[in-house]
C-alpha cells in the first residue's frame, strides 16, 4: 500500500469512530414503526409510545374502527385486539414485552418490594456426567416420556440440604440492589430489537420473568472484536503473496538460496506478530486476561496458512477477494456457532472461541479442553503449510490454472517422486484434520435437530465430504502420470488411500476427540462401528470407484464418481448404524 493512503486512513478511522459513537448514542434504527397500533386510551398510548417499534395513532374509537384493518394492534377499553396475521402476532408479542416493561417500572417503585415481587427463584445447577449423549436419549431434546410413578434414582442418593426459606440478605441491601438499574440480560430480543429488563436482580436470586437462560450473545461481540482484526491482517498477507505472483515479481526471491520454507516463514512472521500485537492490544483495552491469547494463536496460524493457500491459488485479485470473503464467512460460522452453546452443550468446545468466552466469564478451561478445541487448528495449519511449502516454486506460482486443477496440481506436487503410494498414505493422513473440521461444522449445524433427521443428514454429508477429500489424491495421481495409470496401479492407490484415511482417523481419535466418539454422531463421522478391516475396505472401495470413473470417463466423470462413492459410503453407514438408531 502506498504512503498516499495514510492520511486518508486517519480520516477514515476518525469517521469510523464518529459513526460508531453516533450509532451507540442514537441506537440502531431499523425497526422503528414496523408495527402500526391505535388506541383511544391515554394510558395505553403512553405505554405504546415507549416502544419505537410501534407507530401509534391516538384518536377516538369511531375513527379507529373506520379503518380498523390498517392496524396490527388496537387497544381499547382495557382490551387488546390483534390482526389475524403473522405481523399482528408479532406485534402482540412485542406489545407483551412492552407491557411487561411498563408493569415493571410501576412495580419497581413500590415501597413494599416483596408485595411487588413476591416470588424469588434460586437456581441451583446440578452436574450430570452424561453430557454429549443427552441429545441421543430422545428424538429431540425435550421428548423424554414420563412414566406414571415417580422415577427412582438407580444410583446412590446423596442427602441434599433443605434450602432456607428466606433470601438470607438483609432488606436494606436488597432495596439498594432493587433501586439500582440492573444491567440488561442477553436475549434474542436484545440483538433483534432490544428491550431492557428493569426488574431488581439480587445476585443469584431471580424473579420469574428473569428466568430464561442467558444467551451467550456476547460471543458474537467477541467474534467481532477478536476475529475481524485477524481477518483484516491476514488479508494483507494474502495480498502480499498474490503480489509476488502478479507479473512474476517473486522470481528474484525464488532465485535466492533461501528455501521455500524460509521465504514463507519470513513473509508470514511480521503478520503473525502483528496479529498477536493487535489481539494483545485489544485485551489491554478490554481488560481481558492475557491467557485469551492461547486459544487465539492456533486461529491466527490457521488464518495465515489459509491466506497463504488462497494467495498461492487465486488467478486474479477478483478471485482472491471472493475466496477470502468466502473463507472468512465459513470460518466465522465455524468459530461462532459453537460458542452460542457455551455453558449449554459440550459441542461448544469445537471452537477455540468458546475458550475465549469461558475466560472472559472467569471460569477458565483445562488442558484437555484446550487440546480438544485447538488440535484441529494446529494440525490443519500443519497440513496446509506442508502443501504450500512443497509447491512454493516457479512452476506452480506463475501458472494460471483453474482453482480445482490447481489444488490437484498442488497435491500432485507434494507427492514424493519415487514413492507415490507411500505419499498417498501420508497425504490422506494429513487431510484428516481438515476433513474433521468440515465434519465438526456439520455436527454443530445438525446436532440439535431431531435425531433420525440429524443422523441422516450427517451420514450423507459426512460420506460425501470424505469421498471428496479422498478423491483429491487419486486425481493427483492421474495428473502426475499425465494420463490414466494402469488398473493395477489404481488398485494399489485406492488401497493406499483407504489405509491412510483409516490410520489418520484412528490416530486423531486416540489423541483427542473422545467427547464426540462416545455418541452416535461419532460412529457416523469416524467409522466407529465394526472391526478395523471394514472401514478400511469401505475407504478403499470409495477411492477405487472414483479412480474407475476417472479412468473410464475422464475428468467429466469425476463428479459422478464422487457421488457414487458417497452413496456407497452412506449406504454402508446406514446399514451399520441402522442398528444403533
Amino acid at each position: 500500500m502506498s504512503k498516499e493512503v495514510l492520511p486518508v486512513t486517519a480520516v477514515l478511522l476518525l469517521a469510523l469512530l464518529l459513526a460508531t459513537g453516533l450509532t451507540a448514542q442514537s441506537g440502531v434504527h431499523l425497526h422503528d414503526g414496523i408495527y402500526t397500533a391505535a388506541t383511544d386510551d391515554d394510558a395505553a398510548a403512553a405505554i405504546l409510545a415507549g416502544d419505537p417499534r410501534f407507530s401509534t395513532t391516538h384518536t377516538d374509537l369511531a375513527a379507529i374502527l373506520k379503518d380498523a384493518d390498517r392496524y396490527d394492534l388496537i387497544v381499547t377499553g382495557g382490551q387488546v385486539w390483534v390482526a389475524r396475521s403473522a405481523k399482528g402476532e408479532a406485534a402482540l408479542a412485542a406489545f407483551e414485552t412492552t407491557y411487561r416493561h411498563y408493569q415493571n417500572t410501576i412495580y419497581g417503585t413500590a415501597d413494599d418490594l416483596f408485595a411487588a415481587y413476591p416470588l424469588w427463584i434460586d437456581t441451583t445447577e446440578v452436574r450430570s456426567e452424561l453430557d454429549f449423549t443427552a441429545t441421543e436419549a430422545g428424538t429431540s431434546a425435550g421428548m423424554q416420556r414420563p412414566s406414571h410413578s415417580a422415577p427412582k434414582p438407580s444410583g446412590t442418593v446423596e442427602a441434599v440440604p433443605t434450602p432456607a426459606a428466606d433470601l438470607g440478605i438483609d432488606e436494606d441491601a436488597l432495596r439498594e440492589t432493587a433501586a439500582r438499574v440492573p444491567a440488561g440480560t442477553d436475549q434474542v430480543d436484545r440483538v433483534l430489537g432490544g428491550d431492557q429488563q428493569d426488574e431488581p436482580e439480587l445476585g443469584r436470586f431471580k424473579t420469574p420473568s428473569q428466568l430464561s437462560p442467558p444467551l451467550p450473545f456476547d460471543s458474537l461481540i467477541y467474534v467481532f472484536v477478536f476475529i475481524f482484526p485477524l481477518y483484516f491482517t491476514s488479508q494483507f498477507f494474502m495480498m502480499a503473496i498474490a503480489n509476488e505472483r502478479s507479473g512474476r515479481r517473486g522470481e528474484v526471491l525464488l532465485s535466492t538460496p533461501a528455501g521455500p520454507g524460509t521465504i514463507i516463514a519470513g513473509k508470514a512472521l511480521p503478520y503473525f506478530l502483528l496479529m498477536l500485537a493487535v489481539s494483545a492490544a485489544i485485551l489491554l483495552v478490554t481488560g481481558g486476561p492475557l491467557a485469551v491469547l492461547l486459544p487465539l494463536i492456533p486461529v491466527i496460524l490457521f488464518f495465515l496458512a489459509a491466506a497463504l493457500l488462497i494467495g498461492m491459488t487465486a488467478r486474479s485479485f477478483r478471485e482472491l477477494s471472493f475466496l477470502s470473503i468466502f473463507f472468512s464467512t465459513v470460518m466465522t460460522a465455524y468459530l461462532f456457532f459453537p460458542t452460542v452453546f457455551a455453558n449449554v452443550h459440550a459441542v461448544s468446545l469445537v471452537s477455540p472461541l468458546t475458550l475465549v468466552v469461558l475466560l472472559f466469564e472467569g471460569s477458565g478451561f483445562g488442558a484437555a479442553d484446550y487440546v480438544y478445541a485447538t488440535a484441529l487448528f494446529y494440525l490443519g495449519t500443519a497440513a496446509i503449510l506442508f502443501l504450500c511449502i512443497k509447491n512454493f516454486n516457479e512452476e506452480r506460482l506463475f501458472s494460471q490454472e483453474r482453482l480445482t486443477a490447481k489444488i490437484t496440481a498442488f497435491v500432485a506436487g507434494a507427492m514424493a517422486r519415487g514413492h507415490p503410494f507411500a505419499s498417498l498414505v501420508a497425504l490422506n493422513i494429513l487431510s484428516i484434520p481438515l476433513v474433521f473440521m468440515v465434519q465438526m461444522m456439520y455436527l454443530v449445524l445438525l446436532f440439535n435437530l431431531p435425531l433420525p433427521f440429524s443422523i441422516v443428514c450427517l451420514i450423507l454429508l459426512a460420506a460425501l465430504t470424505e469421498e471428496v477429500f479422498k478423491s483429491v489424491g487419486i486425481a493427483a495421481l492421474f495428473r502426475r502420470a499425465g494420463g490414466a495409470p494402469g488398473w493395477k496401479t489404481l488398485g494399489i492407490a485406492a488401497a493406499a488411500t483407504g489405509l491412510g484415511f483409516l490410520l489418520g482417523e484412528k490416530l486423531l481419535l486416540f489423541v483427542m476427540l473422545s467427547q464426540v466418539t462416545g455418541s452416535v454422531f461419532g460412529d457416523v463421522l469416524f467409522s466407529g462401528v465394526g472391526l478395523l478391516w471394514m472401514p478400511f475396505l469401505l475407504h478403499t472401495v470409495g477411492a477405487a470407484i472414483v479412480a474407475a470413473y476417472l479412468k473410464i470417463g475422464g475428468t467429466r466423470a469425476y463428479p459422478f464418481g464422487v457421488l457414487t462413492a458417497g452413496c456407497v459410503h452412506a449406504l454402508y453407514n446406514f446399514v451399520l448404524i441402522g442398528g444403533a438408531l
Binding site: V5, L16, A19, T23, S26, H29, G33, I34, A43, A44, S55, V75, E89, L92, A93, T97, Y99, I106, A110, A115, Y117, P118, L119, I121, T123, V126, R127, L130, A134, G138, A141, G142, P146, A150, P151, K152, P153, E158, V160, T162, A164, D166, L167, F205, P208, S209, S212, P213, L215, S246, R315, F317, R318, S321, L323, F326, A333, V344, H345, L445
Partner: protein, 357 residues
C-alpha cells in the same frame, strides 16, 4: 457516449466473472449466510422458546419437594409438566440421572407473609433439556407470582393499568428476524459485493496495463468506466430478485416488491459508484479496497443511526408498514443515486482527460 461501447465493456467484464466462476462463490456465500442466520434463529428459538416452533416442552417430568402450594397445579396446567411429589434428596439424585428435567423445592412460607416466597430450582448444568424445560417453568412461575401479587396487592401503593393481553404464540422473533434482519441482509449483500467487484474491474485494467490497449479502440475512457459500473450493477437486481422469488417459494412474501427492488438498485448504484470512484483515484487494488471497505463500514454505521435509512426503509416496505412518506423516500433515494451518477461521470471524464493528457 456510445451505448454500444458501454455494453461491450460490460459484456467483457461479465464474461471474466463467468469464466472464473467467482459469481458462483458469491452466490454460495449468500446461501451460506442465509443458512447461517436461519440456523441461528431456528436453533435458538427452539432452544429458548420451544413454543415458537409449535413444539411443547410438555410432558417433561418435574420433581416437586417441600410444602404444598398452588405451584404444583400451575406446573401441570400452564407449564404442561408431569409433576411428581418427591423427597428432595431423591429428586435431585434422579435429576442427576436425567430421569427428571428439573426439581422444584417450595418452602412453607404463607402467601401473605411479610417476606418473599423463595423457591429453589434445581436444573442440570450444560443441558438442552433443562433449557427447553425452562420456558414452561417460567410460565408456571409467572402465574404463581401473579397469584401471590393478588394476595399482597393491598400493600402496593400504585398498581399498573390492567390490560387484557391475549395469549401470544411467540411469533415475534421469527417475524422480526425475517423482515427486520434477514431480508435487508440478503438484499443489500449483492450491492456490497458488486461494489467491491467494480474496484477489481477498474484496478485490473491499471494493474495489467491493458487500459492503453482498450483506449486505442474506439471505446473512450468514460465509456469504459460506465461499462464496468454497468457490469457490476446489472448483477444486483438479478440477485435481489432471485432472493425475493426464493423467499416467496418458502412462504415469506414481500410487499411492495417493485419499490424494494428500486430501492436496492438505487442503493447499490450509489455503493458501486463509491467503489468505482475510489478505484479511479487509487488505481491500485489494495489501497482502493481498503479505503472502500473502511468507508463502507463508517457509512453503514452512520446510516443505521438515522431513522429512514435505506435499511429501515427496506424493512418497512417489505413488512408492508410503509406509508406515503416511505414511498417519497424511495423516490428521493433513486434521485440521489442519479445525482451521484452524474457527479461520478464528471469525475471519470476528468480522470479520462488526465489519462489522455
Amino acid at each position: 457516449m456510445n451505448a454500444r461501447h458501454v455494453w461491450t465493456i460490460a459484456k467483457k467484464d461479465l464474461r471474466g466473472v463467468k469464466s472464473e466462476r467467482t459469481i458462483v462463490l458469491a452466490i454460495l456465500l449468500q446461501v451460506f449466510i442465509a443458512m447461517f442466520s436461519s440456523f441461528l434463529v431456528v436453533g435458538l428459538t427452539s432452544l429458548y422458546d420451544p413454543a415458537a416452533l409449535g413444539e411443547q416442552g410438555g410432558g417433561l417430568a418435574i420433581g416437586y419437594a417441600g410444602a404444598d402450594s398452588p405451584l404444583a397445579g400451575l406446573l401441570e396446567e400452564p407449564g404442561g409438566f408431569t409433576v411428581y411429589p418427591m423427597n428432595l434428596s431423591e429428586a435431585v439424585a434422579a435429576l442427576k440421572e436425567r430421569q427428571l428435567s428439573a426439581v422444584v423445592y417450595v418452602p412453607d412460607t404463607p402467601p401473605d407473609a411479610e417476606g418473599p416466597v423463595k423457591v429453589t430450582l434445581y436444573t442440570i448444568k450444560n443441558d438442552i433439556q433443562g433449557a427447553v424445560a425452562s420456558a414452561g417453568l417460567k410460565d408456571a412461575f409467572e402465574a404463581y407470582e401473579e397469584e401471590l401479587r393478588d394476595v399482597r396487592s393491598g400493600r402496593l401503593a400504585a398498581v399498573p393499568v390492567d390490560l387484557a393481553v391475549p395469549e401470544s404464540e411467540g411469533g415475534q422473533t421469527f417475524f422480526l428476524f425475517v423482515y427486520g434482519l434477514l431480508i435487508p441482509l440478503l438484499l443489500f449483500l449483492p450491492a456490497i459485493i458488486s461494489a467491491s467487484l467494480v474496484i477489481d474491474f477498474v484496478t485490473e485494467e491499471y494493474g495489467a496495463q491493458t487500459l492503453e490497449t482498450l483506449l486505442s479502440t474506439p471505446v473512450t475512457f468514460v465509456e469504459c468506466f460506465w461499462g464496468k459500473v454497468l457490469a457490476a450493477w446489472i448483477l444486483v437486481p438479478l440477485q435481489a430478485g432471485a432472493w425475493l422469488l426464493l423467499l416467496a417459494v418458502n412462504g415469506i412474501f414481500i410487499e411492495n416488491a417493485f419499490a424494494v427492488l428500486a430501492l436496492v438498485s438505487a442503493a447499490s448504484l450509489a455503493l458501486i459508484l463509491l467503489g468505482g470512484v475510489t478505484a479511479l483515484h487509487y488505481r491500485e487494488r489494495t489501497a482502493a479496497q481498503f479505503v472502500y471497505s473502511t468507508a463502507l463500514v463508517a457509512v453503514i454505521l452512520a446510516a443505521l443511526a438515522v431513522p429512514g435509512n435505506p435499511g429501515h426503509l427496506l424493512v418497512l416496505l417489505s413488512a408492508g408498514a410503509a406509508g406515503p412518506w416511505e414511498y417519497m423516500m424511495v423516490a428521493a433515494s433513486v434521485l440521489g443515486a442519479v445525482v451521484l451518477a452524474l457527479l461520478a461521470g464528471r469525475y471519470a471524464r476528468a480522470m479520462g482527460n488526465r489519462a489522455r493528457g
